[in-house]
């Protein structure tokens, strides 16, 4: 990963120095080793804080909506999964493709600090990844963990490949994961309705409406969200004390249905640890099974499953029957 980082830094320098791009979007060191944040670098000087490591899980594509409106070209480092969101945003005319220089970078799966902490470790100062083994350094010493157990949920089932690249920095071949990303959804489907209700009620009750999921979601990029718009009739008001979070999450999942690329950012950023990606994946699974396989963001053109139809489409009751 260090090698990749230095190559990225090198490219960023060249691009900025040559004036080819006006800014580079990447990650900047945080207060700790595990909280790098997305950042825009406009000069070589600023690059001193540039970082790319196992905690750089953030999807940078959404920032490009604003960046592509700015003067000059913007270079961006995109991991495989980020490129799908990028495509989707180009398709929706949110990103001006011509003004973006995409540097595809390898990913190798990112780590979840929450999961590391859950293993009883605190004051983490650094990690060293060696295949399946992760050496975690803390102020209190070193521990070795299995990588599978501490990767981000979104990385655990990811087999995505770069869909867009103007150039690439890929030094290692990423192992192909033989995992079913719908396993958790299927498990829920196997439950009784009561069990499912109980599960979701518990999960969604944790929601504090911080809007982090909405803010991070590349598909949730509306200039004005319906939940902030009194004209929409769903904006939260004082007298809506019932069903509010549920309504929010159902509508959110519905609004991104057919457009969600399954980047998993919603679950990554949720401070309450709600597995929000399982909502989106249900739509993805239903769409795949009912209307044929569809991966949002694979192409920057064409319709989405909910904006097209076939005369032979199943009736809702038959879709339910086909499912559980």
């Amino acid at each position: 990963m260090k090698e990749v980082e230095s190559k990225m830094l090198e490219r960023a320098k060249v691009l900025l120095e040559s004036g080819e791009v006006a800014r580079v979007i990447g990650w900047r060191k945080g207060a700790f080793c595990h909280d790098p944040e997305p950042a825009s670098f406009e000069s070589v000087d600023e690059l001193k804080d540039f970082v790319y490591d196992y905690f750089c899980g953030a999807n940078l594509s959404k920032y490009l909506i604003a960046e592509s409106k700015k003067e000059g070209k913007t270079a961006v480092f995109l991991k495989p999964c980020d490129t799908y969101s990028f495509n989707q945003l180009v398709k929706e005319h949110r990103i001006n493709r011509e003004k973006i220089h995409v540097i595809a970078v390898e990913c190798m799966a990112k780590l979840d600090i929450g999961k590391i902490k859950a293993k009883g470790l605190s004051a983490v100062t650094g990690v060293e990844v060696d295949g399946e083994q992760v050496k975690v350094q803390t102020l209190y010493g070193e521990a070795v963990l299995s990588k599978t157990e501490i990767v981000l949920a979104k990385c655990a089932t990811c087999n995505k490949t770069h869909q867009v690249k103007d150039e690439e920095i890929v030094l290692h071949e990423r192992p192909v994961r033989d995992v079913n990303r719908f396993a958790e959804v299927e498990a829920l489907e196997q439950m009784t309705a009561e069990e499912r209700f109980k599960f979701w009620r518990e999960q969604l009750s944790k929601c504090i409406r911080c809007n982090a999921c909405r803010n991070v979601c590349p598909a949730c990029s509306c200039i004005k969200c319906v939940f902030d718009n009194p004209q929409s009739g769903v904006a939260a008001k004082a007298n809506d004390d019932k069903f509010e979070e549920q309504l929010f999450h159902i509508i959110r999942a519905y609004h991104v249905a057919g457009r969600c690329t399954d980047c998993g950012e919603c679950s990554r950023v949720c401070p309450q640890g709600i597995p929000l990606h399982l909502l989106n994946r249900k739509f993805i699974k239903d769409i795949d099974e009912t209307y044929g396989e569809f991966q949002a963001g694979e192409s920057a053109e064409g319709k989405t499953p909910l904006t097209e139809y076939r005369e032979s489409d199943l009736e809702p009751k038959d879709v339910l029957k086909e499912g559980k």
Binding site: K91, R94, C222, I223, K224, Q231, G233, L306
Partner: protein
């Protein structure tokens, strides 16, 4: 804040017997916005309407709710009433307390309670209503007819007759279409050219009609009343204005290898040619594939002999753009390709021909000057076998699933004409069914059998093969339960017909819908059979479905009537309940446009001032003249920027909330 009047109708006893109307009027008296409520025996009567008008004036009402029968019955009535009293007609909402309440419930208490809820729901909605006014859009008083066959010709003549200008765009060098290729017409056996060519001449001479031959529609913008169409005028290398049609160039042209399309490629024609003697315009065209001058730069004979100086080898495609109020699609048909039907040996045997080829062979101006000679050796065929339903009613995937409709009649015609002209010829017809619905049609078919002795065999041919120069036709005779083998000299296939392939492009340009067989879809199969679902677009002839000449002409005239009805209007009133996008909220994501069945949504780049900053944004723009108000876009829009006037999200939500209050 609205000032709402509520008017509860008794509908005699229809409502009042089950619903306590007084209680309803009383219950809503204090509801939000309500300043007046009343009941009356027949609200739709003259007196009832007067009551509403008076109340509107006396109480300065800004909105009214009428609790009465279905809005499908009297919404228009009460809208007019409101308008007469100076209230915007869209400030009227109807609570359906008859069909949806008093007529289906027996319990008076229950029905009254429900009626109160329904009226309250309407009050909640009207509280959010805003005055709407039907927009107006101007009508360009000129029509475009795409296709210059008999359908297009008839439509153009009828429209021009009413005094409107019409342009006919024809992709070939002459108008006339398929009908010009036909020898005789059933069931009267008139000479096709004799009835068609005078109409073609009428078109040419009518000052209201502009024939744009050798041209194609390239782009269509706009909407009903206001289309803007880009037309490509293909280079014909002959100046249309100068050419006199003397045909001297045709005689002198040294390249004579081109296949004569008009004669179904049965003979050759020069590289410069006029498609047929009565072509309109009677102007030559150069086939650039065959012209030696255009291919090698050498020759130029035609230019030398042309006294009018009409030949221009440097001519280029030209584009013109014109505005139209209405468009008639009359793109016609072609016989299907027969490559998939090996069993009939069409590609291997010259003497296996299609019925349209036979038309040319039978025609006095055709390749054999009207003498029935077979293509292979120019001999007169003694035994002729016709095969019907070649590729029609075929669900195996090789042909077309539909009945081509015209083949039974023209096959009877051919059989009859041959027997009349050459009584020594033996004529057999293989048929599955003989379908002859139409005036004098069955009589015509029976004449072929009874008077002319044509041998109709109920059955189908399984194989046609060549044996010692004879065409062996093997088929079944189901009546006699036999397999027959007919030694024939000529085999004629009644090939299925299909829409002219260019119609697909036209349909896309017009956002007109098309079915799986490439036939254009009409707006309503029974009640709007000549209108496309796209407003201002009309359908004539086979592009809409198989039909014969009389039907085509009727449909073309019907189209013309519709077009005239549109063009006589100076302005079109548009439905005010249309979608519109809130500019500040629109993401410009294009999802709405992808579900709009009318192509009413386009995108504009617009500078917006938001939070003190100026931003260039991509914004959806709904053309209110094209939008029909279905609302598909509103649900697709994630930000809710797209809303529907008269049925806004907030209005519907308020109705939902009111119902849920109980």
């Amino acid at each position: 804040m609205q000032r709402i009047g509520v008017f509860i109708c008794w509908c005699g006893s229809n409502i009042a017997a089950t619903v306590d109307v007084e209680r309803v009027a009383d219950a809503v008296k204090k509801d939000q916005g309500v300043v007046y409520s009343a009941t009356y025996q027949y609200m739709c009567s003259e007196n009832g309407q007067q009551l509403i008008k008076n109340a509107i004036k006396e109480h300065s009402l800004t909105g009214i709710v009428v609790g009465s029968c279905s809005p499908r019955m009297h919404e228009a009535t009460f809208r007019k009433t409101a308008e007469a009293a100076g209230l915007n007609s869209y400030m009227v909402e109807i609570a359906n307390i008859r069909e949806h309440c008093s007529w289906i419930h027996k319990d008076r208490e229950e029905a009254t309670e429900k009626a109160i809820i329904l009226v309250r729901t309407a009050i909640a909605k009207v509280n959010l209503n805003a005055p709407l006014s039907a927009g107006e859009s101007p009508v360009i008083k000129r029509a475009l007819v795409i296709g210059g066959g008999i359908a297009g010709i008839q439509a153009a003549l009828d429209i021009a007759e009413a005094g409107f200008e019409v342009d006919i765009v024809e992709k070939n060098a002459t108008i006339g279409g398929r009908m010009a290729q036909i020898d005789k017409t059933f069931p009267t056996l008139d000479c096709s050219a004799c009835i068609l060519t005078p109409k073609m001449v009428d078109c040419a001479q009518n000052e209201k009609i502009d024939i744009l031959s050798y041209s194609e529609v390239e782009e269509v913008k706009g909407f009903v009343g206001n289309f803007s169409v880009k037309i490509k005028r293909k280079a014909r290398f002959v100046d249309e204005k100068k050419c006199t049609g003397c045909k001297l160039c045709m005689e002198k042209c040294p390249s004579k290898k081109g296949l004569d399309e008009f004669n179904m490629k049965l003979n050759k024609r020069p590289a410069i040619y006029i498609p047929f003697a009565q072509a309109i315009p009677n102007v030559a065209v150069i086939d650039p594939e065959q012209c030696i001058k255009l291919k090698t730069g050498k020759c130029g004979l035609c230019q030398k002999v042309c006294g009018a100086g009409a030949i221009d080898y440097t001519q280029k495609d030209e584009y013109i753009e014109r505005g139209y109020g209405a468009i008639v699609v009359a793109t016609g048909f072609k016989p299907i390709e027969l490559n998939a039907f090996n069993e009939f040996g069409y590609s291997e045997n010259q003497d296996v021909i299609t019925s349209l080829e036979l038309e040319r062979i039978m025609n006095a101006a055709g390749p054999t000057n009207g003498v029935l000679l077979r293509p292979s050796d120019g001999e007169h065929p003694k035994v002729i076998t016709f095969i019907q339903c070649v590729g029609s009613r075929d669900t195996s995937g090789c042909g077309k699933p539909y009945c081509s409709k015209i083949c039974c009649m023209y096959t009877a015609k051919h059989a009859m004409l041959i027997r009349e002209k050459y009584p020594d010829t033996e004529v057999h017809v293989f048929y599955i069914d003989v379908r002859t619905p139409g005036k004098n049609y069955d009589e015509f078919f029976r004449r072929a059998v009874e008077q002319y002795g044509v041998d109709y065999i109920k059955g189908m041919v399984g194989k046609v093969y060549n044996e010692n120069g004879k065409l062996m036709v093997q088929g079944s005779n189901l009546i006699d339960n036999e397999q027959v083998l007919i030694e024939s000299d000529l085999v004629v296939l009644a090939a299925a017909i299909e829409p002219e392939p260019s119609v697909r492009k036209i349909a896309t340009l017009l956002t007109a819908s098309i079915d799986t067989n490439n036939f254009l879809t009409e707006s309503h199969a029974k009640l709007r059979p000549v209108e496309s679902p796209t407003a201002g677009v009309y359908l004539a002839g086979v592009c809409q479905g198989p039909k014969d000449i009389p039907e085509t002409v009727s449909q073309a005239s019907a189209c013309a009537a519709k077009v005239i009805g549109l063009l006589v209007k100076d302005k079109l009133k548009t439905n005010p309940c249309v979608a519109s996008a809130n500019e500040t909220m629109c993401n410009g994501c294009s999802q709405c446009a992808s579900v709009c069945p009318y192509g009413a949504i386009t995108y504009v780049e617009k500078e917006l001032r938001v939070d003190g900053k100026t931003e260039l944004r991509r914004i959806a723009s709904v053309n209110p003249a094209v939008c029909q108000g279905c609302g598909a876009c509103t649900v697709t829009c994630p930000s809710g920027a797209m809303d529907l006037k008269g049925f806004s999200s907030k209005q519907i939500m308020s109705e939902v909330e009111e119902i849920c209050k109980r």
